[in-house]
């Protein structure tokens, strides 16, 4: 047995000497040398061996996201993970959403930014129950950030949670937070082509909101081209074209939010019945 690690396979040193193969090709050859030297287990030379891993690199996040999802399901809380580039109008849309729905719906908002609490301050001013998460060096929210807020801030009584992710079209798409719905926001001022330039985020979205429609007269932007880019990466998700400023198209979005809530509670009562 090897004195370094206690394993019982033939030594790297020996197999390399005998077979004369470079390090990388060593592994297949090791099987042979193992048989040859299997009698001799008292050598104390270092051993090279292969260890199968196989797990996801972001395994910790995947597991935590699943735990979050279970917690949300238990408490019948639908969760929207809202993602977009910085400056697409997520916070403004949420301000208007709070003003329209806060009386009928008890919803919590978690808003992520690297620094500052401007978004939370803005949302507080319109009466939202909101908490700022500062990710500092990190470019996205992760499942641990959300988990830390479940018991205290979100609480079992919330009827809906909206997570306003860090403004970024790349990284947030790779980190599951345990949400039930992913919403991508794309503003007209960003141009029509962002969905195909940043495909993963738009592909994963359950709903795509095209914001700042009131600015279209001032832009070289056409809805048809934008829609083509969206459909290349996401053939099925509904697309809501709206302007939070003028209120154009807002009904569809508000209806969507209310429907998420009623679906979550009816699924919850169905589970109760099945119990």
């Amino acid at each position: 047995m090897c004195q370094d690690c206690g394993c019982e396979i033939a030594t790297d040193l020996i197999s390399r000497k005998i077979l004369g193969v470079p390090q990388v090709q060593q592994v297949q050859k090791l099987q042979i040398s193992q048989e040859v030297f299997s009698e001799d287990r008292n050598r104390s030379t270092p051993v090279s061996r292969r260890i199968e891993m196989g797990q996801a690199i972001v395994e910790k996040n995947i597991q935590q996201a699943e735990l979050n999802r279970m917690w949300f399901r238990t408490h019948q809380i639908p969760v929207i993970n809202m993602m977009s580039a910085p400056g697409s109008g997520k916070t403004y849309l949420l301000e208007k959403t709070v003003q329209a729905l806060a009386d009928s719906l008890d919803f919590a908002i978690l808003t992520g930014d690297q620094e500052m609490s401007y978004d939370a301050d803005r949302l507080k001013r319109v009466g939202a129950r909101v908490k700022q998460i500062n990710t500092l060096s990190s470019c996205h929210l992760n499942a641990q950030h959300i988990e830390a807020e479940l018991q205290g801030f979100v609480g079992a009584r919330s009827q809906l949670l909206v997570i306003e992710n860090v403004g970024n079209l790349v990284c947030p798409a790779a980190f599951d937070l345990g949400e039930s719905h992913k919403v991508a926001v794309l503003s007209t001022t960003e141009g029509e082509d962002k969905p195909t330039k940043y495909p993963l985020l738009f592909h994963e979205a359950d709903l795509i909101i095209v914001s700042k429609m009131d600015l279209v007269p001032y832009l070289d932007w056409t809805q048809e081209v934008c829609q083509q880019h969206i459909r290349k990466v996401n053939p099925n998700a509904p697309i809501f074209y709206l302007s939070a400023k003028t209120g154009e198209g807002m009904e569809a979005w508000l209806k969507y939010v209310q429907t998420l809530r009623s679906e979550a509670t009816s699924m919850g009562s169905l589970r109760e019945v099945l119990k």
Partner: protein, 114 residues
């Protein structure tokens, strides 16, 4: 953009494996990175030596296998590899009712250790 934190996640898993399997040095680490995993291979290669400098992955050869995007049609079940700038549609029947079955991987495949 988050390749450095990915490198730290890799280190954490490998160090846990080092305790489990009793090794002190990694000669080679093999990663599988899908085209749509959100990770840039060059950025990962760039930050890896510095991130691993004081760990058992110091001097380890970083082997990365990239995996392209493949979708499966949910209507006719045909598999279609997708190249850049190609719409996510089935090559056989043209349906856009598809799901990604390869290309989002981000995994440690195996380690060669001493």
């Amino acid at each position: 953009m988050h390749e450095l934190s990915i490198a730290y996640d890799v280190i954490e898993q490998v160090e846990a494996a080092a305790i489990r399997h009793g090794f002190k040095k990694v000669n080679q680490i093999h990663l599988l990175v899908g085209e749509w995993s959100g990770v840039d291979v060059e950025a990962l290669q760039f930050c890896f030596p510095e991130a691993t400098r004081k760990t058992c992955l110091k001097d380890a050869h970083l082997l990365i296998t990239c995996k392209g995007l493949t979708i499966q049609c949910l209507d006719c079940f045909e598999l279609t590899p997708i190249s850049r700038e190609q719409a996510l549609a089935c090559a056989k029947c043209g349906s856009v009712n598809t799901k990604i079955i390869e290309g989002k991987e981000l995994r440690i495949v195996d380690l060669d250790v001493d």
